[in-house]
């Protein structure tokens, strides 16, 4: 398929070459089309207190023809009964244009309203539901606000990062020379990954095996990518040399704010960009980068192909070992995982942090 070859010379160039570049441009133009549609039918659909946020492949810059549009109407302001009306109007408009904007998954994590108070305050504890955790982590790691007004979205992202760092009493190592890995954030990202993996089994049961193949493929690739990028964001607090030069012993507040800004800057990147940046920064060999981005490109190639995507959507677990499309996914995800293994277990800078924070 044209566009699948990468000629990248550094890791940072990979997301901007070949099919990855094509999907990225498709995501950008789809976001613009979405804004245009909403602006023409619902002028001023966002406000100081509300943002329309998209997740999934549209936010990651991996938009393919069969991608779903995962969205939520994010509210960070006073309670207002009109918010539901607006969310419903957005929903109706998207349904009227479902040929272009496919509806989200039926579990209801997206395609609805989300409230900043739950997302920021309910981290852990009895009221931190699956939906809340998912929205929070995806807001950080794979989200994008649509339209000109992004005030609410920007505030909530900062609010979430602040909340995670508020719980870490000692942001610096004992010698005050480096930032520590933000453990509360890291643990939530790890929890999110494990939750997705457990939910995979739960969904298989709930939906009587329907959609197993596609969900499995996503778990092996795009979901795992989010997890890996989240770990790297956390590790960067300790490893990023530029960040360490900004450590000031003046005030505790300044130390925290610098880290907040660092994490905010990182999560502005897409997961693939975070991987690429980290691989360059920590000296991961080009061969590994080529394998990782090559495998991901092949994954998107499968999803871009209508027949292959349909085959995965219709595939049930029992048939997976014989199914040629799924065998291809297994091969691709094997390469992807070996590349991740190299980054997280063999790289001299990252491996010690994986050992220290990854499991126990």
């Amino acid at each position: 398929m044209p566009g699948t070859e990468s000629t990248a010379a550094t890791s940072a160039e990979h997301p901007n070459s070949g099919l990855l570049q094509i999907c990225r441009e498709a995501a950008l133009s789809t976001r613009a089309e979405l804004d245009q549609l909403l602006s023409s039918q619902i002028p001023g659909y966002t406000s100081e207190d509300t943002s329309l946020v998209v997740f999934g492949s549209l936010a990651r810059g991996e938009w393919t023809r069969g991608s779903d549009l995962d969205w939520t109407y994010l509210i960070d302001g006073g309670a207002n009964s009109d918010h539901l009306l607006i969310a419903q109007r957005i929903q109706r408009l998207l349904e009227e244009n479902e040929a272009k904007f496919r509806p989200p998954s039926p579990t209801g994590t997206f395609g609805n309203m989300a409230f900043s108070h739950d997302i920021i305050h309910q981290i852990g504890g009895q009221n931190d539901t699956n939906k809340n955790t998912t929205q929070r982590i995806l807001l950080l790691l794979e989200s994008c606000a649509i339209g000109k007004r992004t005030d609410a979205y920007d505030r909530v992202i900062l609010g979430v990062i602040n909340r995670y760092l508020d719980e870490d009493n000692h942001p610096l190592t004992p010698d005050s020379k480096r930032y520590r890995v933000p453990r509360f954030l890291l643990n939530d990202i790890v929890r999110f990954w494990r939750t997705m993996a457990v939910d995979f089994a739960s969904k298989q049961r709930d939906r009587a095996g329907k959609g197993w193949g596609l969900r499995n493929a996503k778990l092996r690739m795009s979901r795992k990518l989010i997890f890996a990028s989240g770990l790297l964001v956390c590790f960067s607090a300790n490893l990023d040399p530029d960040l360490q030069t900004k450590i000031s012993t003046d005030k505790q507040d300044g130390i925290k704010l610098t880290l907040v800004q660092h994490i905010r800057d990182y999560v502005r990147l897409t997961p693939l960009e975070i991987l690429a940046k980290s691989m360059d920064r920590y000296g991961v060999p080009q061969l590994i980068a080529k394998d990782l981005f090559g495998a991901y490109t092949e994954f998107l190639k499968v999803l871009s192909d209508e027949k292959s995507r349909a085959a995965l959507e219709n595939l049930r677990s029992g048939d997976s070992r014989e199914d040629p499309t799924f065998r291809e996914i297994r091969r691709i995800s094997g390469i992807f995982e070996r590349a991740l293994d190299h980054i997280f277990f063999e790289n001299k800078q990252i491996a010690p942090l994986t050992r220290k924070y990854g499991v126990f």
């Binding site: 619902i42 002028p43 001023g44 659909y45 966002t46 406000s47 100081e48 207190d49 509300t50 006073g78 207002n80 009109d82 918010h83 009306l85 607006i86 109007r89 007004r149």
Partner: protein, 238 residues
Amino acid sequence: MRCIGFSTGALARNDFGKALQMLAGKNVSAVELSALRQGELVPLVEQLDHLDLSPFKYVSFHAPSAMERSFESVAVELLLQVAARKWPIVVHPNAMYNPSEWRRLGNCLCIENMDKRKPIGQTAKHLAEIFETVPDASFCFDIGHARQVDPTMSEASAILHRFRDRIRQLHVSEVNTQSKHDPLSFESILAFHKVSHLVPADVPVILESRVEESEINGEILSALNALSADNLLALTGD
């Protein structure tokens, strides 16, 4: 169609000449000449004879939103020149130290309801107290201020019920939490729909939304939509 236009201060802050240029050729029939800061009053009054206001059926004037006590009598003297043209003069109640001075403007004095920042003038009760001190004054209903004070629009409804007959003009925009005037969002349009049936149809509308020139016509359409009683979703306060 409603008589509708913009405040010069919204389009070009303290450059009324530029704002009038931005409005040239647009579908507007009203304008509010804005001297929101004390220092802008003298230059604007001095220029009144030289401005081409022929495209506008309705012209109003916005007095400084705050001023030093020592400037109050100077301001009123200058504003008497504006009143001589029979233009409504929009005044913030907190800018009036001595109501008897302002009574000299007669029914050209046009009191505006306030946003959250101001110490007085937000509610129907406050406004009633103010109108007792300036009984001939008319009323500039700022629907954006009213929504900022009470997003349910209940207070807006109370104000409209009580002072509908005094209304001389409307101010329309979305007023954000910092009390800045933003373009209308769908959220504010839905809120304005709730009281649109209470807003007299013949009252001129002045938009205070800070927009680029290319956005003027779109903002006018949004405002007309917001004030159209045809779009009423649910009555507030009736």
